[in-house]
């Protein structure tokens, strides 16, 4: 089955009461206007370059306090293909982990509940990833482990609670580390969509089909309201264009996108990819309760984003989401 088609049908099964809440051009949160969200573009032309010191400096400048904290890094591992940049690159994961140690984190955990591939050997327990990590960094397979039920603060999916992997629930600081990719159901997958991977597969399956049935966009929004993310670093060194998140092609961008604000990071990354975030349904809706959707919401640090702006190829369905130039 073509999953996009399936999901169109599955949307019919979502609670009718929730449908009225999802529409393009939804209302923004009322005034007062929030302070600008800092977004930093760090040039990283290839994965061989060690950016640990620069990443630590930006996180520190953004006010992220890690000293003595339990930090959980949430990369994006879906499945592994030898020729496709599907997952957050291990070099980026390692450098962020080491930046956290540099900033005094008491514990750094890399945790992921991979969405397609159940075998953690292809995710955070891969020996190649572990071999480049400081020995103090812990890798945890979140698919197979303890979870705690936390009330769903959104309500769009109709799910009363989410079963959150316990290490995520118990972390002091959660850092989302997604890959910059197109997504064949919702347009783009970045920091907000990355939160699917805090939900264990033993509860939700492979793929997390319950979330598909309840609506991917609704699920993203419910998770965004329920799970507090403290920082976001998007791996745009080499992104994925076309039929993402697993069947697309490599798209070098050469940058990391860093921000304490998930929506600001995602909206900026979308603009770099050549998409107008105000045409992407779930980003628009997230703008009702998160800051960072409008260009005016964002203050740029580091490199001028114009340097990295490009146009990601995408499926025909999503060409209507294109826009720009933005910078």
């Amino acid at each position: 089955m073509k999953r996009r088609e399936f999901l169109r049908g599955a949307a019919v099964l979502a609670p009718a009461a929730a449908l009225g809440n999802l529409a393009h051009g939804g209302q923004r949160a009322p005034a007062p206007a929030p302070p600008p969200c800092p977004v930093t573009l760090l040039p990283m032309p290839d994965y061989g370059r060690d950016m640990g010191k620069e990443i630590a400096a930006v996180m520190s400048e953004d006010g992220l306090v890690l000293k003595g904290k339990k930090v959980l890094l949430k990369p994006n591992f879906v499945e592994t293909h030898p020729d496709r940049p599907i997952n957050t690159n291990p070099a980026v994961i390692a450098q962020v982990a080491h930046a956290c140690l540099r900033l005094g984190a008491a514990e750094v955990v890399i945790g992921e509940a991979s969405g397609h591939r159940r075998d953690p050997w292809f995710s955070v327990l891969n020996p190649k990833l572990r071999s480049i990590l400081d020995k103090r960094v812990i890798c945890m397979d979140l698919n197979h482990g303890d979870a705690v039920a936390v009330p769903n603060k959104g309500g769009l999916t109709g799910l009363p609670a989410f079963f959150l992997a316990r290490p995520v629930a118990e972390a002091d600081v959660l850092i989302s580390l997604p890959k910059m990719k197109t997504h064949h159901w919702v347009g783009v997958t970045l920091s907000l969509k990355n939160l699917f991977g805090v939900l264990p597969g033993i509860y939700y399956g492979w793929p997390k089909n319950l979330l598909h049935f309840r609506g991917i966009e609704r699920s993203i929004l419910d998770l965004a309201r329920t799970v507090k993310v403290h920082y976001n670093i998007i791996d745009g060194v080499v992104g994925m264009e076309g039929d993402g998140p697993i069947m697309g092609k490599a798209k070098p961008v050469g940058a990391l996108v860093l921000s304490p604000f998930s929506l600001a990071a995602d909206a900026t990354a979308a603009r770099i990819m050549g998409f107008d975030p105000r045409k992407i349904l779930y980003l628009v809706q997230a703008g009702r309760f998160l800051p960072g959707l409008r260009p005016d919401d964002v203050v740029f640090r580091g490199e001028n984003p114009k340097r990295f702006a490009t146009q990601f190829d995408c499926l025909e369905d999503f060409k209507r989401m294109r826009g720009g130039p933005f910078f």
Binding site: G9, P120, F122, G205, H212
Partner: protein, 283 residues
């Protein structure tokens, strides 16, 4: 294989409540407990040593026969009921087995209309991970294994389940988590899912229908590195009478060398079953 050493290592994951955790530091969970029971059964562990595990697992059964993840979330992870039925069957809990099978045969995946442009039959009923959702390869395969092992391989649900699995087979061999392809492009096969699906189809399916998957595992065996990937490859190839001597050597070496840090007890248990040569997943 040093059976008693492997048994001891498996039991070292058990906790004071009687269950067994996926990873050290976690709470007891159904899947590692159930697979450990089968691993211990396969290496001939005494009933005395497995009693706390079996008692913990049996205590998870709900009034409708289903078995969930753990005592706190017993309404979650009901896909584990199929694995529970296998364990109850092997360890002689007939009444619990029959109730579990009753639930398994009543649990159906949601179907949707076919798309003429896509080579996948969405009207076939398999088994879902979560009730009320679509059918996927692994829960369907576990349910088939349970029905086969318990003598219900001819059940109408099993007949359709086999059609479901064959429909989802990637044309060039193997199984992904559920779809053979997207937009006419094949998805990558997963070793563990492929092995499990092959075991589920063993005996009641024309071998020619699954030959591409068997050949794929045989051809690519050197690429397989993970404990569960190797274990399921051994289990599947061996169940079709193919040579697994080299694979078993590699699996043995891997299980002996794995440190406790990051060791998944459920995968270790499948490895032990594979090395034992005991056909716990076949009728």
């Amino acid at each position: 294989m040093d059976a008693s050493r492997f048994a001891d290592r498996l039991l070292s994951f058990s906790l004071s409540d009687g269950g067994l955790a996926y990873y050290r530091g976690n709470a007891s969970s159904a899947e590692p407990t159930l697979l450990a029971l089968l691993g211990l059964f396969a290496v001939g562990a005494t009933a005395q040593s497995t009693k706390p595990l079996l008692s913990w697992a049996a205590g998870l059964q709900n009034p409708d026969g289903s078995v969930g993840l753990n005592p706190e979330h017993r309404d979650q992870g009901l896909w584990l009921t199929a694995l529970s039925a296998i364990v109850f069957h092997r360890l002689g809990l007939k009444e619990a087995r029959d109730r579990a099978l009753g639930f398994v045969t009543s649990l159906k995946s949601v179907t949707v209309a076919n798309d003429p442009n896509i080579r996948q039959d969405n009207t076939l009923v398999g088994w879902p991970w979560v009730p009320g959702t679509f059918g996927w390869v692994e829960p369907t395969a576990w349910s088939l294994v349970a029905l086969n092992v318990c003598g219900l391989g001819g059940h109408a649900r099993a007949v359709e389940g086999r059609k479901f699995l064959l429909d989802r087979q990637i044309p060039s061999g193997g199984w992904n988590y559920g779809n053979p392809g997207i937009n006419d492009r094949e998805l990558l096969p997963f070793w563990d899912t492929t092995g499990l699906a092959l075991v589920a189809l063993r005996g009641r399916t024309d071998v020619d229908r699954v030959r591409p998957s068997l050949d794929l595992l045989e051809k690519d065996q050197e690429k397989i590195e993970s404990p569960c990937g190797l274990a399921w490859t051994v289990l599947s190839l061996e169940s079709y009478g193919r040579d697994t001597a080299r694979l078993k050597q590699r699996l043995l070496g891997l299980l002996n060398s794995l440190p406790d840090d990051g060791l998944n007890a459920a995968h270790f248990a499948v490895g032990v079953i594979a090395l034992s040569g005991k056909k716990v997943f076949l009728p």
